[in-house]
C-alpha cells in the first residue's frame, strides 16, 4: 500500500489529468448543491423561522397560505386540543414595496407577514402599529433601520425597526409586523381579500409532546375536518415550486455523479493498463491481486479527496464573495461533506471496473521478455 502512496507522490503527473477533471466535477457538484440549497433557503426561510411543530391551514386552501382562512372559533377549537402547548396566528400579504431612493416604478416584491409567536428565528412582534422587522436581504436593496417602505398600491407606510436573517418566502424578501398592522395593510391594498379581526391564514402550533402526526389528526378532528395540519417539512414540500426544483436539481446532481463514475473508471482503467508490466513483476515477486487492487483504490480515494478539498475551497470562496441577495447560493458543511461522500462512492465504483484487469495480470509475462 505504501507502494501506491510512493507512486502518487513521485509520479504525480500520471494522475494529473484525472485529478483535474475530478476537481472540475467536484466543483460542479458543490456549486449545484450550493445553488439548490440557496434557492431552497430563499423559498423556505419564513416557514423555518417559525420553528413550528405543526402549521394549521384551512382544508380548502390546498395547503397554501394565501388561500387559507382560519376563523376565531376554529382557533378556539384548536387551542382546546390536548397536546397543543403554544398557538400563534400567522398572516401574509404579497405586495410590491417602494423603497426610499428607488424610482417610482422600481418595486421590490415582498411579503408582509403578521405574526404573534416569537421563536428562535424571529424576535417579539413590533408593539407599535406600522412597524416591522425586515429580512436582511432588504439591506442589499439599500434599506436602513428607520427607513419607511411604502407597501402595495395604497402605499401603506411600514417602518423598518431592525433586521432578521433567513426569513425569505418563495424567493421574496419579507417584512414581519404585528397582526394588526398586517390586517390593516391587507384591507388597504386588497379590499376584496379583507381580513377581519381574529381571522388569520394559518396557526403556528407548538406541541407539548413528541407525537406530531397524532396531534395533527386530533386537531383536524376537533375542527370537524375544516383544517389541514402539516408538519414543517410537509408545509415546505407544499410550497409552490419547491418539490419540483429539488427534483430537477437532484436529477442533475445524480447525472453528475454518474459522469464522475465514468471518468474514474476510464482514467483508472488507463492507468492500470499502463502498469500491467509493473503488476506482472510485482505478482512474480509474490504480491497478491488483493494487495495490488487495494493500492489502486487508495490512489483513487486520495485523488478524489484532493479534488473535493479544492472544490470545497472554491465553493466557500464563492459563498464569501457573493453579495447577499444577488445569487441564491450557500455553501453548507452538510452539502460539501455530502458531495465528497458521493464522489468517494463514485471513485470506488469506478475502480471496480479495473478489478478484473488487475486479477487477470499474469506474472509469467514478467519472465522471458
Amino acid at each position: 500500500m505504501s507502494l501506491a502512496l510512493k507512486e502518487l507522490r513521485r509520479q504525480p503527473s500520471r494522475f494529473g489529468v484525472a485529478t483535474v477533471i475530478l476537481t472540475l466535477i467536484a466543483i460542479l457538484l458543490m456549486f449545484l448543491g450550493g445553488l439548490l440549497d440557496g434557492l431552497t433557503a430563499g423559498n423556505t426561510g419564513a416557514i423555518r423561522a417559525q420553528q413550528a411543530d405543526l402549521i394549521v391551514f384551512s382544508s380548502t386552501s390546498q395547503d397554501s397560505l394565501v388561500r387559507s382562512r382560519i376563523e376565531p372559533d376554529q382557533e378556539k377549537q384548536v387551542a382546546a386540543v390536548e397536546g397543543v402547548a403554544g398557538i400563534g396566528e400567522l398572516g401574509s400579504a404579497q405586495l410590491g414595496g417602494r423603497i426610499e431612493g428607488k424610482g417610482p416604478r422600481d418595486l421590490v416584491p415582498l411579503v408582509l407577514f403578521g405574526y404573534e409567536a416569537a421563536s428562535k428565528g424571529l424576535p417579539e412582534p413590533p408593539t407599535r402599529p406600522g412597524e416591522a422587522w425586515a429580512d436582511d436581504t432588504l439591506e442589499a436593496e439599500g434599506v436602513e433601520r428607520g427607513d419607511v417602505i411604502k407597501v402595495g398600491p395604497a402605499r401603506s407606510p411600514v417602518k423598518v425597526i431592525g433586521f432578521v436573517n433567513d426569513t425569505r418566502y418563495s424567493g421574496q424578501s419579507t417584512l414581519w409586523a404585528s397582526l394588526d398592522t398586517w390586517r390593516k395593510v391587507q384591507s388597504e391594498n386588497r379590499p376584496d381579500a379583507r381580513v377581519g379581526p381574529g381571522v388569520s391564514q394559518a396557526l403556528i402550533i407548538q406541541a407539548s409532546g413528541p407525537d406530531s402526526s397524532g396531534l395533527a389528526q386530533r386537531i383536524d378532528e376537533a375542527t370537524g375536518g375544516l383544517t389541514s395540519s402539516l408538519t414543517e417539512d410537509e408545509t415546505i414540500q407544499a410550497l409552490p415550486g419547491v418539490a419540483a426544483q429539488e427534483s430537477v436539481f437532484n436529477q442533475i446532481i445524480a447525472l453528475t455523479v454518474l459522469i464522475a463514475i465514468i471518468v474514474v473508471a476510464l482514467f483508472f482503467a488507463l492507468i492500470t493498463v499502463e502498469r500491467i508490466g509493473l503488476y506482472g513483476v510485482l505478482k512474480a515477486l509474490g504480491a497478491g491481486s488483493g494487495r495490488l487492487f487495494a493500492g489502486v483504490l487508495l490512489q483513487a480515494v486520495i485523488v478524489t479527496l484532493i479534488a473535493c478539498a479544492i472544490g470545497a475551497v472554491a465553493a466557500l470562496a464563492l459563498d464569501a464573495a457573493i453579495p447577499a441577495g444577488s445569487i441564491p447560493f450557500t455553501a453548507t458543511g452538510a452539502r460539501l461533506l455530502g458531495s465528497t461522500i458521493f464522489l468517494l462512492f463514485a471513485a470506488l465504483i469506478g475502480c471496480a471496473f479495473s478489478l478484473r484487469r488487475v486479477l487477470k495480470v499474469d506474472p509469467a509475462q514478467a519472465i522471458g521478455g
Partner: protein, 244 residues
C-alpha cells in the same frame, strides 16, 4: 575444467558441500501442455531434474525450447499440467494461485531478463519491496538490504532511482532484490544478454560469488555457452525435452 566435468557426471548431488541435503529443486515427470486454438502445444515434455541445495546450473537452449516454461514452473509462476515439483522440500505441484503467490514471495528469487526494477523507487526501496508485500519486518529487512547493497558494491547508489543507474548497476540491484527473502532457489533469465562480453563475465562471476557464499541454488537460463564455465553443471533443453 576437469573439476567441472567430474561434477557434471554426478547430477543430483550437492555441489561444493553444503551440509543441507534437501535438494533445492526436484522435478519429476513434469509436463506443461497448452491448448491453443484446438491444438495441443507441449511446452515441456516429461522433465526430470534435481538440483542440489547450493548447486548452480546453466540451462541452455534455443528460443522456444521451453527453458522459460521450466523456470516458470520451478519458480511457482506456472502450475504443471502433470508431474511433481518440489522446491526446497516444499511440494508445490498442486498449489492454488494464492499459495503459489505466497510461495514466490517467501521462497524464490527472480532476476528477469528485462531487469524490471520499479522505476519510481530508489535502489534500496526496490530491495525492500519484497518485505513490503510480505512479512513486514521492516527493521530486519532494512538491515539485510543495506548489507546486500554493500556486498554488491552499491552502497553509494542506494538512494538513486533506476534511471540514474547503469545497466550493470541495475542488474546488481535486481540480484539484491532476488536475494532479499533468503530464497531456496534463484532463477536468472538471460542475465548477460544486455551486457557486453566483459561486463557479462563480471556479472556471472558476481552471481556465482553471491550464490556460493550463501549456499543458495540457482538456475541460469542462457543461450550463451560461455556462461556455462561459471555453473556447476550444464543442462541442455530442446523442444521441451531435457538432455542430461
Amino acid at each position: 575444467m576437469s573439476e567441472t566435468e567430474t561434477e557434471a557426471s554426478r547430477p543430483g548431488e550437492s555441489g561444493n558441500g553444503g551440509p543441507n541435503s534437501t535438494p533445492a529443486l526436484r522435478m519429476e515427470g513434469v509436463r506443461k501442455v497448452y491448448e491453443v486454438a484446438d491444438e495441443k502445444v507441449v511446452a515441456l515434455d516429461r522433465a526430470d531434474l534435481i538440483l542440489g541445495s547450493d548447486e548452480i546450473i546453466a540451462l541452455v537452449g534455443p528460443s522456444g525450447s521451453g527453458k522459460t516454461t521450466l523456470c516458470s514452473i520451478a519458480g511457482g509462476i506456472l502450475s504443471p499440467t502433470e508431474g511433481r515439483v518440489e522446491v526446497g522440500g516444499q511440494d508445490i505441484s498442486d498449489y492454488s494461485s494464492k499459495q503459489l503467490t505466497e510461495f514466490r514471495r517467501d521462497s524464490v528469487g527472480f532476476v528477469f531478463q528485462t531487469v524490471n526494477l520499479i522505476p519510481f523507487l530508489t535502489a534500496r526501496e526496490n530491495l525492500l519491496v519484497v518485505d513490503e508485500i510480505g512479512s513486514r519486518d521492516r527493521k530486519r529487512a532494512k538491515k539485510r538490504a543495506d548489507q546486500l547493497l554493500e556486498e554488491l558494491g552499491l552502497s553509494n547508489r542506494a538512494g538513486n532511482l533506476p534511471s540514474q543507474l547503469s545497466g550493470g548497476q541495475k542488474q546488481r540491484v535486481a540480484i539484491g532484490r532476488a536475494l532479499m527473502n533468503e530464497p531456496a532457489l534463484v532463477l536468472f533469465d538471460e542475465p548477460t544478454s544486455a551486457l557486453d562480453t566483459k561486463l557479462g563475465d563480471q556479472m556471472v562471476e558476481l552471481i556465482r560469488e553471491e550464490m556460493k557464499s550463501r549456499g543458495t541454488a540457482a538456475i541460469i537460463v542462457t543461450h550463451d555457452e560461455r556462461i556455462t564455465r561459471y555453473a556447476d553443471r550444464t543442462v541442455h533443453i530442446t523442444d521441451g525435452r531435457l538432455e542430461a
